[in-house]
């Protein structure tokens, strides 16, 4: 069973993403509501992949990603950023960070796992 960590400060996004990945794909899901909490959960659970919001207070997604890259136990975990920013300049900036993929909000709860699988190269 795939194990996924969702990091998003918005309750509704976190809940729907978790529901989607659990009920549609049957994955085990962990959640965190901030970048700092996400790093703690990631270190404890070592998930197969992380789905993380870009815009979060205190420590945003790109900052959290860069901090994870400094930690040997977390640096190898694929990270997918989730953003509601649709303008090209934002997309290029996020893609240039070195994350595995960037997905966009709003996502379709029925196909989120499929999109993630495709981005991660999971069959």
């Amino acid at each position: 069973m795939r194990r996924i960590l969702i990091i998003d400060d918005e309750d509704d996004i976190r809940e729907v993403a978790a529901l989607s990945l659990e009920s549609v794909a049957g994955w085990q899901v962990y959640t965190a509501s901030s970048g700092a909490e996400g790093m703690r959960v990631a270190a404890a659970e070592l998930p197969d992949a992380i789905l993380m919001d870009v815009m979060m207070p205190a420590m945003d997604g790109p900052t959290t990603f860069r901090e994870m890259q400094k930690m040997p136990n977390l640096a190898g975990i694929p990270v997918i950023l989730l953003t509601a920013k649709v303008q090209g300049v934002d997309q290029r900036r996020f893609a240039g960070l070195g994350v595995t993929a960037v997905l966009f909000k709003p996502f379709d709860p029925l196909t989120l796992a499929e999109q993630m699988s495709a981005a991660l190269g999971w069959s």
Binding site: I6, E10, D11, D12, I13, E15, V16, A18, L19, S20, E22, S23, V24, G26, Q28, V29, Y30, T31, A32, E37, R40, V41, A44, M55, A84, V86, K105, P106, F107, D108, P109, L110
Partner: protein, 113 residues
């Protein structure tokens, strides 16, 4: 330490997933109404010419959140209006209060709230 998301009853079929999504939508309605109220207050301030920068920044953040969530619950038109509001408020220069108010009203109408 957070526990794995609890949804032991979550079934692996689309119809049941939609029903659970509808439940989450209902649960999140109070938050949604708060976000609409914040935008309505910002519209009133824009019309009166008293909108402060923090209020404008707050409205941008609220519109951004709505843009990211409404389509997820099956309201893509609501997302489009929220995105328009966000981009309008992010643009430099004074807020077009008429357009801002129309977009907020249209977004609410799209959701039948």
């Amino acid at each position: 330490m957070p526990q794995p998301f609890e949804s032991a009853k979550a079934p692996k079929d689309p119809d049941a997933t939609r029903k659970l999504l509808a439940t989450l939508w209902e649960r999140n309605l109070p938050v949604l109404r708060d976000r609409f109220a914040e935008l309505e207050h910002a519209v009133v301030a824009a019309r009166a010419g008293t909108m402060t920068q923090p209020q404008r920044d707050g409205a941008i953040a609220t519109a951004h959140k709505l843009a990211g969530s409404l389509g997820m619950f099956g309201y893509p038109e609501g997302t489009e209006f929220a995105r328009r509001i966000e981009q309008h408020l992010e643009a430099t220069g004074p807020v077009d209060a008429l357009r801002f108010g129309e977009d907020v009203a249209a977004m609410q109408a799209a959701l039948s709230l």
